[in-house]
Amino acid sequence: MMAVYKREMRSYFVSPIGYIFLAIFLAVSGVIFSVTVLQAGSSGSVSDYFTYMMMSFCIVLPLLTMKLFADEKRQRTEVLLITSPVSLTSMVAAKFFAALSVFLVGFVCTLINLIPLYYYASGTPDTGTIVGSLLGLVLIAAAFIAAGVMVSALTESQLVAALGTMLIIFFFVFVSIFNFSIDSYVLRSVLSWFSMLDRFALLTIGRFDVSAIVYFISVCFVFLFVTVRIYEKRRWS
């Protein structure tokens, strides 16, 4: 498993994709921060920053995951992993953690944004809320990356993988928006159960919600599990 992880990490930074991801991620987070917090000049609007950050994941995370399996298929190196003594689970996990690690590198850099919040913004920022939101962002990112891993396993085109991942992420983020136009109460509550926006909103206003955390982690596991099944199925087809 370490071998696959190391190779993935390496390939992110040998090819331009790792740097492109980091550049876009940092630029977007900087813009979001200046628009939401700096212009408002109030630390109270920091929850907006986190919400927009989460939305920006729709665009930036697919960049990170699109190549994971799609490129193996295109280069026909997939067979190498399948025929080597590595279990499918650890192969999928290695790729997931590689993408997550690159994300975390970028994410840690964006924490710089929060420095001016403490020094220059009016009002005292609520550290508890900020920590909760940051944790929420990381968990959501993990869930989205897992979705990207799954979509990448379904196609050999990186473009299709990226677009497909965006679609899934959009669904999870914005599903509650459509809720207003749905009459059925049952359908509405089912859809809002899926909504990441609703669950994340609780974290950004400082309510530490265990069920939200369990939800993000389970979504993550479900996607990774499905990825393993996709490969299992191919073997048994």
Partner: protein, 324 residues
């Protein structure tokens, strides 16, 4: 070493591998020969544990592939049809990655160095794979299969797309590997198996249609042997002499060449080698033989005849009618 028993693989309605049984012993070089779509790659995928079977079993060194794929994968080195190379890595990085991937226990430096020397990769050890020629890439693929020193090495069409010099190098290398490993080679290039393998297994439509040692492979051909002779001398007398020989079924002139030499097609009774006798007769009569070659003894024709036989009577009849 490898036991394949009643192996069947179905994709829906289509049967890709149809009840194959095969036993391969230690140190053998076995060639899987068959037209495209015969089931060679499917069989190999099952052997390497990347594909399940519908029924049947494969054991490698006593371990069942489907029960304990991890253990079997450790014992098999596999070079697929398209070498699985990460083009952005250098040869060194790539082989180190494979070493880690296979969780090898040998001394890393020495093991990789030894393999590179064996497949002659030393010159390009620090170069990026993307920049290597097809021949070198193929060798990197072979090196990859050798890492961890697996007992069984499987090559799927290892010489496709190489130039003649590279083909010879790769074949020599495979032959050499056969001294210390069990090698399975799949190909549709017929002289390749003849040159490299100890044993030839011909597969068609998912079934084994012939399984013979290389030197006996021509026995599976049904019917008579034909020889083409080119000799200088009087046409009619030469033909008469040929026809009078015991064991010759048929002789005819097929063409006149320069220097008043004639090409004659001679068919002998099944299983009789007439070449020495014919030489003797012609020599006594003072008719120099300037060429003599066996027709219908090469693998191509054996192959077609065997495959046709299993493919039903229609094609065989057609071929007979069409003649040569």
């Amino acid at each position: 070493m490898i036991e394949i028993k009643n192996l069947v693989k179905r994709y829906g309605e289509k049967t890709a591998v149809d009840n194959i049984s095969l036993s391969i012993s230690d140190g053998e070089i076995v060639g899987f020969l068959g037209p495209n779509g015969a089931g060679k790659t499917t069989t190999m995928s099952m052997l390497t544990g990347s594909l399940s079977c519908t029924s049947g079993s494969i054991t490698v060194n006593g371990v069942d592939v489907f029960d304990d794929p991890m253990e079997v994968k450790k014992q098999i080195g596999y070079l697929p049809e398209f070498p699985p190379l990460y083009l952005e890595m250098t040869v060194k990085e790539y082989l180190n990655f494979i070493y880690d991937l296979k969780e090898c226990t040998q001394d890393r430096q020495a093991h990789i160095a030894e393999i590179c020397e064996r497949v002659r990769l030393d010159d390009v050890f620090n170069r990026v794979i993307r920049n290597l020629s097809k021949g070198y890439r193929q060798r990197v693929g072979i090196a990859q299969a050798l890492i961890g020193n697996p007992k069984v090495i499987i090559f799927d069409e290892p010489t496709v797309g190489l130039d003649p010099k590279q083909i010879i190098e790769i074949r020599t290398l495979i032959k050499e590997l056969g001294k210390s490993h069990t090698v399975i080679l799949s190909t549709h290039i017929l002289p390749e198996v003849q040159m490299v393998c100890d044993r030839i297994v011909i597969i068609n439509k998912g079934k084994i249609v012939a399984d013979e040692l290389t030197e006996n492979i021509d026995k599976v051909i049904v019917g008579a042997r034909q020889i083409q002779i080119k000799a200088c001398g009087p046409e009619k007398e030469m033909l008469a002499a040929l026809r009078s020989l015991n064991g010759i079924r048929y002789a005819e002139t097929v063409g006149e060449r320069e220097m008043s030499s004639y090409a004659m097609l001679v068919e002998s009774e099944p299983g009789v080698d007439m070449r020495k006798t014919i030489f003797g007769v012609f020599a006594r009569n003072g008719w120099p033989i300037i060429g003599m070659e066996a027709v219908g003894l090469n693998l191509e024709e054996i192959f077609i005849s065997v495959v046709d036989e299993s493919g039903g009577d229609d094609t065989r009849k057609k071929q007979k009618k069409g003649g040569r």
